[in-house]
């Protein structure tokens, strides 16, 4: 028995190391690819020696590619953990910020703030964007929760999420109808979802929020594990269910709000990545799944961002397009697998 446990942990460690390797490979490939090609030697020189001499190469690397890569890594992980928390909370394998309409809620709030605020300010500070997205997320989450308590069936929950997200999109469209043309362009490109707007301040801000979210989720991994057996059992083990649920909602909303504020709504990462992670690890223990799915989400988004930038270069695809192409099949596969088990 004991040897088995050691073996399992060793397996986990191998997977983590492999993911880290993949992560670094993707970072390097990402830096190295783009419309302006920069020789590898030059890249290493610029990064290692921290050359910021306002040359084209240095600017591209320091001001465009590096922040974008970091943002993709940070937000991809955040989406995955948010998805994992939501799946645990709703006991629904395909719950995620996008499916439940939380991303749309955030988008609606950000759209509203963008259009209103741009009439008074030149640009919207990122803290305001995040705050708006957070409020929008919580709003939708509240609505979904309200309905889900009355229904309690898995498929209905998703129907509600999708309906709520339609409502939010309608309201967003309503704002757009009455917005100035320049704002519309802004909003549309943002709402397609992209990591292209990354700046160092965005990176720092989101890094702080997401790190906080990740650590908090990790610290909750014990009650999350108990919650997997259902509310009744969780409570019997001494968990304060109400407080725990609130914490779970706030955390998952914060994480997905952060993503929506900086990169727009990104679909399927939240659903697909936690499942890929569980499948890789062959466990659902939250203490492992939370950090590893963060890492896995980072890798997934780096990969998707790479494709969105390079597949049809110089034209860039929306990140949501790529994540859907790779994420949606995972969801289909999940449904088939569940059918088989049931």
């Amino acid at each position: 028995m004991k040897r088995d446990r050691v073996k399992t942990v060793f397996r986990y460690e191998c997977i983590i190391v492999a993911l880290f390797l993949l992560f670094f490979v993707l970072v390097i490939v990402n830096i190295n690819s783009g419309t302006v090609s920069i020789p590898a030697k030059e890249i290493i020189r610029i990064i290692l020696l921290r050359i910021r001499d306002e040359s084209v190469e240095s600017n591209i690397i320091w001001k465009i590619r590096l922040p974008r890569i970091l943002l993709a890594a940070i937000l991809g992980g955040a989406l995955s953990v948010s998805g994992f928390l939501l799946q645990t909370f709703f006991r629904n394998p395909i719950a995620g910020p996008f499916v439940l309409g939380i991303s749309s809620g955030a988008k609606m709030a950000v759209g509203f703030v963008m259009i209103i605020a741009l009439q008074y300010w030149k640009s919207v500070p990122s803290s305001v964007m995040v705050a708006a997205a957070f409020v929008g997320s919580l709003l939708v989450m509240g609505m979904v929760l309200l309905f889900s308590q009355r229904i309690g069936s898995m498929s209905m929950l998703l129907v509600i999420g999708i309906m709520v997200s339609y409502i939010c999109s309608a309201i967003t469209d309503f704002f757009i109808t009455f917005a100035k043309e320049t704002d519309v362009a802004n909003l549309t490109s943002w709402s397609m979802g992209s990591f292209s707007g990354a700046s160092w301040s965005n990176v720092k801000f989101s890094a702080v929020l997401c790190l906080f979210g990740l650590v908090a989720a990790f610290l909750l991994s014990k009650p999350i594990g108990a919650y997997q057996l259902g509310e009744g059992y969780a409570q019997s083990m001494g968990i304060n269910i109400k407080a725990f649920r609130v914490a779970l909602i706030l955390l998952s909303s914060l994480l997905s709000a952060c993503v929506t504020a900086f990169a727009g709504p990104i679909s399927f990462v939240g659903i697909a990545v936690p499942h890929i992670t569980k499948m890789l690890m062959k466990t659902s223990k939250p203490a492992w799944i939370i950090p590893v799915s963060y890492l896995c989400g980072s890798v997934f988004c780096l990969f998707c961002d790479l494709i969105s930038r390079t597949a049809f270069a110089p034209t860039e695809m929306a990140i949501g397009t790529v994540t859907s192409i790779f994420g949606a099949p995972v969801v289909i596969w999940l449904m088939i697998k569940r059918k088989k088990n049931a």
Binding site: A226, G232, S236, M237, G238, N240, A287
Partner: protein, 386 residues
């Protein structure tokens, strides 16, 4: 008293469903709540484990008021086995059992070596060692229930509360599960409170039984003190069929009408014959039974015409006459236990009466049935036509 309630009222939405619940049991005893579906057994249990707010009254566990206990303290005292169907993902049975260690592990839930030992021991208790590495979602209902019990044991509680633990289980697994509970109560002094559907099992396993019906607990106490056939039949509103306390058995509705068949029985020989007649809805009379005979217990549930006589006393002449007159009215007589060849003088007397009255007699019912060509229904019909 380890567990005690004081004028407890339970219910939903601040409305009391059952009130004035006063239960008290000592450590290491088993208390079973019985009552029909929807009577509120689960409501009481859920209130005791704080999953439902109580309406009024007090609950004491080991002398401490439940209101003054934190969830964590309660979790170290009380473990539960609920009716919730749980869906796990990629969790082995061992991992499910290990969740019972929750109240004892550190902030991140890391299991120590001691914890792993307790998991093993709990699995052994329920004879589930071989299940440890199997996926919880892929095992049978019976195994699942045993694993959930192991999980509760793993929590090292003073008390285990189980809501209908035997639902969905077949008879073998029911017995197995209850045996384990008995063992835990006896050896480890764990107090058990549960709800059960099976009255027969409840009376056998429990130290105390509480009948939940209507707005109050109608009866509560050791099973042999509070139970008679009437209590149970009225508790479950059994109007068809009956429950026999002494035998712990349930009989189906007795056939109506004047008896066409007379069964000469005794010494347990009559029961298979009675049941066969009941199944075909053929009303029957039977005799001559001593009242300490097992046949008598079943016969009185299935027939209105039972000729019986008190045990350990000479048979009253009057009873014998009664039997003789009933047998003359019958169109078929069944000798359920080969009484013609055996001792009992009274049964031989009855059979002689039948022969004298020229009534067909099935001699030695078990042998008659064994050759496979006869059916009791056909025989009864043929006899009636005669």
């Amino acid at each position: 008293m380890y567990f005690r309630t004081e004028d407890l009222a339970v219910g939903y939405h601040k409305k009391a469903l059952i009130h004035d619940i006063n239960i008290a049991i000592e450590k290491g005893k088993i208390l079973t709540l019985i009552g029909p579906n929807g009577s509120g057994k689960s409501t009481i249990l859920k209130t005791v484990i704080k999953q439902l707010p109580k309406i009024r009254g007090k609950i004491y566990i080991d002398g401490v008021d439940l209101d003054e206990m934190t969830n964590h303290q309660l979790a170290q005292q009380v473990a539960v086995v609920l009716t919730d169907r749980i869906r796990t993902e990629l969790m082995t049975c061992g991992e499910v059992v290990a969740t019972g260690r929750y109240p004892y592990t550190n902030r991140l839930g890391k299991l120590t070596r001691r914890d792993h030992e307790i998991v093993q021991e709990s699995l052994r208790r329920v004879h589930g060692e071989e299940l440890e590495d199997q996926d919880f979602s892929a095992i049978s209902d019976g195994q699942r229930q045993r694993i959930m019990l192991a999980r509760a044991i793993c929590q090292q509680p003073q008390m285990i509360i189980l809501d209908e633990p035997t639902a969905f289980l077949d008879i073998r697994h029911k017995i197995e599960l209850l045996d384990i509970l008995r063992e835990m109560a006896q050896e480890k002094g764990i107090t058990v409170i549960m709800s059960l559907h099976e009255i027969d099992l409840a009376t056998k396993i429990s130290d105390y039984v509480c009948c939940v019906k209507g707005e109050v607990i109608s009866k509560c106490g050791p099973p042999d003190e509070i139970f008679d056939d009437q209590t149970i039949n009225s508790l479950y509103e059994v109007s068809h069929g009956s429950y026999n306390m002494l035998m712990g058995s349930v009989e189906l509705t007795k056939p109506e009408g004047s008896p066409k068949v007379f069964v000469v029985a005794g010494d347990g020989s009559g029961i298979p014959c009675y049941r066969a007649l009941q199944k075909k809805e053929i009303p029957f009379a039977t005799g001559l039974l001593y009242e300490n005979d097992v046949d008598y217990q079943v016969a009185k549930e299935l027939s209105d015409r039972v000729v019986s006589t008190p045990a350990f006393a000479p048979v009253e002449e009057e009873r014998l006459r009664q039997g003789e007159s009933l047998i003359r009215e019958a169109s078929l007589v069944i000798d359920a236990g080969a009484w013609e060849e055996r001792g009992n003088a009274y049964n031989r007397q009855l059979l002689r009466v039948a022969r004298e009255a020229d009534i067909p007699v099935i001699r030695d019912y078990p042998a008659w049935l064994k050759d496979g060509q006869h059916s009791i229904e056909a025989a009864a019909k043929a006899a009636e036509r005669r």
